[in-house]
Amino acid sequence: MSTHHISVTINGKAHEADVESRLLLVHFLRENLNMTGTHIGCDTTSCGACTVQLNGKPVKSCTVLAVQADGMDVRTVEGLAENGKLHPIQEGFHEKHGLQCGFCTPGMMMTSSALLAENPHPSEDEIRHAISGNLCRCTGYMNIVKAVQYAADKMAEGS
């Protein structure tokens, strides 16, 4: 067993910690830092509830070791709102009722906000393709797609 000193920037804030090599990134966020916005769903790299952005790319944090995030930039759902103002993707999920039980929502938002950063005007197909690794067991995909479209429009207005 090895322990490692890591420095990770999470939502713009530097964190340092000593972690066991087997600690998963999702557990580091939820249990060491009490950032419970990132959810654990399937535990098998299938559902995407635990999706966070690692250096800007959405990844499943149940399948990344915390030590692998050393020196990297992590963004979680807690980092979407800025200065008390919701991110357009959060506003979209609110306005378009993009959630029912809400369990998949943090992962959905981290994946779709990364999509919008790369592709500000995605087609419906592109949105559905991008979120195809994130499962909504309420099957509320119609409104999730509308929420992403709302956010894309909102971001276009703002730019």
Partner: protein
């Protein structure tokens, strides 16, 4: 579900990685981790040391040189998916990465990992068999090149020695009038294939088959190279009758087992149907369609 304890090193150079691997006989290489980490969490794998390649420099690239497409082992699947070179010239590989797991997993998963894992559920092994790719491996004695046809030995067993690291995959650049396709049936995005077929063909000026490669995913202990079907087609006309006969031979080469995805007969039938369709699409692409 937390993995058992293990030591972890993240070397910056390949030679350090090879040395670390040689020091512990229960060490495993960690590439994208999208298969290995879940296996460790389920405690189906319990390496006592992980040698993480994610910080080794120079293992992530896609380029074409001297008639070969060279893909560095740590190239993320999403990089292959977004490569213009791949989408323009390597239709079989382009098809494959689009249906390989899901988009979020592809941001992490690597080409080298998918191939070295030697799990028949992985998609790129069949594709590389159809292409006739070469595997570059580096170990304590240096580098060697392994033809893909002799790379897969058994379930989860490849020709890589325990202290060797897969560093590069080389795909022969398709010649003019070549085309390929990958067809996969999956119950949902991210699922393993019920069955999938990779086909790569080259046509001569009379529309007869030149080289033909056919690989099968998840219908045996390893990815399967359907050699009888390939041999049957070589030199023959690219006709529907010949395609159907080859598909029958490919289905005979499959060794599926019944599971939640379907019965043996169903999967064999699927291989036959998808071989027909993959060959038709490959031919259409070879003709520039």
């Amino acid at each position: 579900m937390i993995p058992p304890s293990f030591d972890y090193v993240a070397p910056k150079t390949l030679s350090e990685a090879v040395a670390a691997l040689g020091q512990n006989e229960n060490a495993k290489v960690l590439a994208g981790g999208q298969s290995l980490i879940p296996l460790m969490r389920f405690r189906l794998a319990g390496p006592t040391m992980l040698v993480d390649l994610n910080r080794v420099e120079g293992l992530s690239y896609i380029d074409e040189k001297d008639g070969w497409l060279r893909i560095g082992a740590m190239t993320r699947q999403s990089a292959v998916e977004h490569s213009q070179l791949v989408s323009e010239k390597y239709s079989l590989l382009a098809d494959t990465v689009k249906v390989l797991s899901d988009p979020v997993v592809r941001n992490r998963g690597t080409v080298g990992g998918n191939i070295a894992n030697a799990d028949p559920v992985n998609d790129e092994p069949a594709t590389m068999l159809a292409y006739g790719a070469e595997i570059v491996a580096v170990g304590p004695k240096g580098e060697r090149v392994i033809p893909i046809a002799s790379f897969y030995l058994d379930l989860l067993q490849s020709a890589l020695a325990r202290d060797e690291i897969l560093t590069e995959v080389r795909v022969p650049a398709p010649r003019p009038r070549s085309g390929g396709a990958y067809l996969k049936l999956e119950r949902k995005v991210g699922d393993y294939a019920t069955a999938a077929v990779a086909a790569q063909v080259e046509l001569d000026t009379k529309d007869n088959f030149g080289s033909v490669g056919i690989g099968l995913t998840n219908v045996g202990l390893t990815a399967i190279k359907a050699t009888a079907a390939e041999d049957f087609l070589k030199g023959k006309a690219a006709s529907d009758d010949n395609i159907k006969q080859a598909a029958k031979l490919a289905a005979e080469a499959a060794q599926p087992v019944a599971d939640v995805r379907g019965s043996e007969d169903y999967k064999r039938s699927l291989v036959r149907t998808y071989t027909v369709r993959a060959l038709r699409l490959a031919i259409q692409r070879a003709k520039g369609g």
